[in-house]
């Protein structure tokens, strides 16, 4: 079957079995290696991408369901020759990155959160991250980064 959708703003046509995970299409067909295959069972969040602006676990997302959708991955946030986004930048300023394998997923989750809610509380940031396992940082500095990114995010409520 052939499926058409956009990835980071570019239209793609993918010839693939329909139940193939979107993650496999992104990594193996499109060479977008940012999203990681951490567990393959939708529990670690390292493969988080946005489908129509909502974070999803790409390892559990059948490519057939992506047909007609807009998919965004970490590679689509800041082009390689451009500035980092506020979330990406804050993660580095606040020491929120260690091994970094979870970070592409964390970045996508936080990007979606801050798009929806300009000023989330600490507890809302943590709840939003419940599906992103980070084994290194203990999350505090990721949360610190998210809270700092909200400072420059949108208008105050």
């Amino acid at each position: 079957m052939s499926y058409s959708f956009s990835v980071n703003g570019q239209e793609v046509d993918i010839e693939s079995p329909g139940l193939r995970p979107l993650l496999s299409v992104l990594r193996d067909d499109l060479g977008l290696l940012g999203a990681k295959l951490g567990c393959g069972e939708g529990r670690c969040g390292a493969c988080t991408v946005l489908v129509d602006d909502a974070p999803v676990a790409a390892c559990l997302y059948p490519v057939a369901n992506a047909d007609g959708s807009d998919v965004r991955t970490v590679e689509g946030l800041a082009r390689h020759d451009s500035e980092l986004t506020a979330v990406q930048d804050a993660l580095l300023t606040h020491g929120g990155v260690q091994c970094g394998a979870c970070i592409p997923g964390v970045v996508m989750t936080l990007t979606a959160l801050l798009d929806q809610d300009a000023r989330p509380e600490d507890s809302e940031v943590r709840s939003a991250l419940a599906g992103n396992i980070c084994r290194c940082t203990g999350y505090q500095k990721i949360v610190d980064a998210a809270m700092a990114a909200t400072e420059t995010n949108g208008d105050p409520r």
């Binding site: 567990c39 970490v74 091994c99 500095k141």
Partner: protein, 762 residues
């Protein structure tokens, strides 16, 4: 110092947040084949027949590897060589490799594995350490006496290794004691569960194996591959891409030898990546253990003597660190408190289970858990305040610990004091129907003393490059720490110092990213090289500035005369001048930890014998227990940690926060259970529960600076230890909350509710 002590952003960070960093799991080579491993489904059996002929002729199959391709016997750190790459004649655990296949596609590889005929004769599995050591139990390694060892260690049949320590006169002390307390504790396996599974890509070129693998310890992996394959060490080259987490789980070779053999047999690059299930089920976790403690105490709370027996589960062979670290148990039990008379025996037993290995803190977390719960038992028995008991027996500066080593820089009392200032000792406030408890735990911990070599060169543009084979596992030791140290030595900005990728062909030996040692060991080596480079720069510049080298300083990318900043030359000019006078500016540096005096005669079978660059810690926890469900919430956590000198405070805090949360997981729910068939039950992340952002307690952190005379700029190891006292302090706080101790980890809601109910029924 201008760069050291600041929170510079990690040099590898931009690529990581962009998703552009290439991890081991992302690395591929053109024309690569896919490799998969056939693994045993039974825990113990004799192999009657293993026939790969059908598989070899299947479509797309390029090679099949079996035991015949890997003649060597090896073991982690080359301590006890009881491991073959593939099971030979005997299967000893579920998941043990039987054969490996390289094919064009994963489907073809799977089909080939399914076509390998295996005929087995089942044996009775031995799954439990006490059963293993019992009289008359079947020997898991009948040929155990033929195995080579690095040092002679007491061994006997299913007892893979025994380390022991005896000092003073324990028997006399027990005879004179007012009170004798005895306890037994049991702890579970904990899996490292890095987000990145093990992965390797190998090719065979010019008669050498070249393998890309995200390993913490490239030189160990190189040596282990060589030994298992029967190759020359220098005929293996290990190159390290970005590493997606290790925590001890990537110290040893895992998939690399399969990729190497298959690359040689096919002449093509071969890639192999673990599934999450393979990762959880076959990559060695922290070992489960039984700890028995018996302590003689005087009525005023002074510890007179202690006996301890630790039985840890080696699993089916010594491919993990469990044997090498056996004696760490004794040092940890006797390193924080004055225990004048001691007798510890640390036994490592074979079982028909997946081999266990290093996880951050190795056997520390469960030994400290046992010791601290035991101390609370002593306090209860004496009617003494728990903190007072600890302070009474605490190691103070100049005291001897259990191996006879004097800790002149002991800083435990100060760490306890700092915690006290943040959260004064006293009962927690009552609140909304939950049971509340507190505990505080001091700890002495080690910095791994292993050696390092590095070189530093000055580029034509005046920047510096460090060439070394230290692996950046995420701590920032390479991405920030050693760069900061070198930047300060050379008067450079942080961004003017590069580090080459870790490659065993180019970097000198380094003892791996383990035991908090990279900033300490590699930091020392890189500093040594930088000092020599600095001397060369000053020497050349002295001629250029017509000044004495002693009057010069390196700052802001120049060499200048102290006190006369207008008399300066930029580094590129110095490098250019040097080029055709002395030659390019480059120097190598080395580090070996200075010997630490201790009583060598008191230990046997010990590979770790003393504390190098000891660090001192205190952790405090306050918990809430839901009386209806037994669920534990850590409501407050405090850490005071001696780091020697803080090179990058943010990175240190990140290590503390991460280590504490791994400890919370270990204490409350992480449990890699073994089933009746010897298989790992928790092979997925649904029941192998990892802490989420919502489980992370707020942590107050005090970084204490208590410089080490032989650390780089006084730095000691900082990354590993925060996990070590967590189980102890939370378990003691839970016991305080519910009024009864639980002598087994983890403290799941099930375990806590059971304890609460059995207490009610008393």
């Amino acid at each position: 110092m201008t760069v050291v002590g600041t929170n510079v952003r990690r040099a590898d960070g931009t690529d990581k947040v962009r998703g552009a960093a290439i991890y081991g799991m992302d690395y591929t080579e053109p024309g690569q084949l896919v490799a998969k491993v056939l693994r045993s489904h039974v825990p113990a059996a004799n192999i009657v027949e293993l026939d790969t002929s059908k598989a070899e002729s299947m479509p797309g199959v390029r090679a099949v590897a079996t035991a015949a391709d890997a003649p060597g016997l090896s073991g982690m750190f080359f301590v006890l060589k009881d491991q073959s790459l593939f099971a030979r004649d005997v299967i000893r655990y579920v998941g043990e490799p039987l054969a490996a296949v390289a094919a064009d596609t994963p489907e073809q590889a799977d089909a080939a594995l399914a076509a390998i005929d295996v005929v087995l004769e089942p044996l009775e599995p031995v799954l439990d350490v006490e059963q293993s050591l019992a009289e008359g139990t079947r020997l898991i390694h009948p040929d155990w006496e033929t195995y080579e060892t690095l040092v002679p260690g007491p061994r006997d049949g299913n007892l893979a290794w025994e380390a022991s320590l005896e000092r003073g006169d324990a028997d006399a002390a027990f005879d004179g004691a007012d009170v004798i307390i005895e306890d037994e504790f049991r702890t579970q396996r904990q899996h490292q569960t890095s987000i990145e599974p093990h992965a390797a890509v190998a090719r065979y070129e010019h008669g050498r194996y070249v393998v890309h693998t995200p390993t913490q310890f490239p030189f160990n992996v190189r040596g282990r591959i060589a030994e298992l394959l029967g190759a020359r060490i220098s005929d293996v080259r290990v190159i390290v891409p970005t590493i997606g987490g290790g925590f001890g789980g990537k110290l040893d070779m895992m998939l690399e030898p399969f990729a190497c053999i298959l690359a040689r047999k096919t002449g093509k690059p071969v890639r192999i990546v673990n599934t999450r299930r393979e990762e959880q089920a076959t990559c060695g976790p922290r070992e489960g253990a039984v700890v028995r403690l018996r302590t003689a105490v005087s009525s005023d709370g002074t510890i007179l003597a202690q006996e301890g027996r630790i039985i840890s589960d080696n699993g089916a062979n010594s491919s993990g660190e469990t044997v090498a670290c056996a004696n760490v148990a004794s040092l940890v039990l006797g390193g924080t408190y004055r225990i004048p008379n001691a007798r510890y025996v640390s036994q490592v037993a074979y079982t028909n289970t997946p081999p266990t290995a290093a996880f951050r803190g190795v056997n520390g977390p469960y030994c400290v858990y046992a010791q601290e719960m035991h101390f609370d038992h002593i306090a209860r028995e004496l009617g003494m305040d728990r903190r007072d008991l600890r302070l009474r027996n605490l190691i103070r500066a100049g005291d001897e610990i259990v191996n006879g080593q004097r800790l002149d820089d002991a800083f435990l009392a100060q760490a306890m004091d700092r915690v006290e200032r943040i959260r004064p000792w006293g009962p927690p406030k009552e609140a909304n129907g939950t049971l509340r408890g507190i505990a505080v735990v001091p700890l002495t911990w080690i910095t791994n003393p292993g050696p390092s070599g590095a070189s530093v060169k000055l580029e034509e543009d005046g920047t510096a490059t460090i060439t070394c084979a230290a692996a950046e596992i995420g701590t920032g030791a390479v991405a920030t720490g050693i760069r900061q140290i070198v930047a300060d030595q050379l008067g450079l900005r942080f961004e003017d110092v590069q580090v080459s990728p870790a490659d065993t062909d180019t970097g000198s030996y380094d003892h791996g990213a383990q035991g908090s040692r990279t900033t300490f060991g590699m930091g020392n080596a890189a500093q040594d090289a930088a000092v020599k480079v600095r001397d060369q720069l000053l020497d050349v510049a002295a001629g250029m500035l017509e000044a004495s080298a002693a009057d010069l300083e390196l700052a802001d990318g120049t060499v200048r005369v102290q006190g006369a900043p207008d008399k300066q030359v930029p580094l590129p000019a110095v490098v250019a001048t040097a080029m055709f006078s002395q030659g390019p500016i480059v120097a190598s540096g080395q580090f070996a930890a200075p010997p630490v005096p201790f009583d060598a005669g008191c230990m046997a079978g010990a590979l770790f014998t003393s504390f190098t660059a000891a660090t001192y810690h205190a952790h405090f926890a306050e918990v809430e227990v839901d009386p209806d469900t037994g669920k534990v919430t850590v409501s407050r956590y405090v850490v005071a940690q001696d780091v020697g000198t803080a090179i990058n405070p943010h990175m240190i805090e990140g290590q503390i926060q991460g280590g504490v949360l791994q400890g919370v997981g270990y204490t409350l729910f992480e449990n890699l259970r073994i089933g009746d068939n010897g298989d790992v039950l928790d092979a997925g992340l649904e029941t192998y529960r990892l802490p989420t952002a919502v489980d992370a307690p707020h942590i107050d952190i005090e970084i204490l600076e208590n410089p080490c005379p032989y650390g780089p700029l006084g730095a000691k190891g900082a990354a590993e230890p925060s996990i070590v006292p967590v189980a102890a302090v939370i378990a003691c706080a839970v016991a305080d909350a519910i009024g009864t101790p639980i002598n087994e980890l983890p403290l799941t809601p099930f375990a806590v509710l059971r304890a609460l109910r059995s207490k009610q029924n008393e």
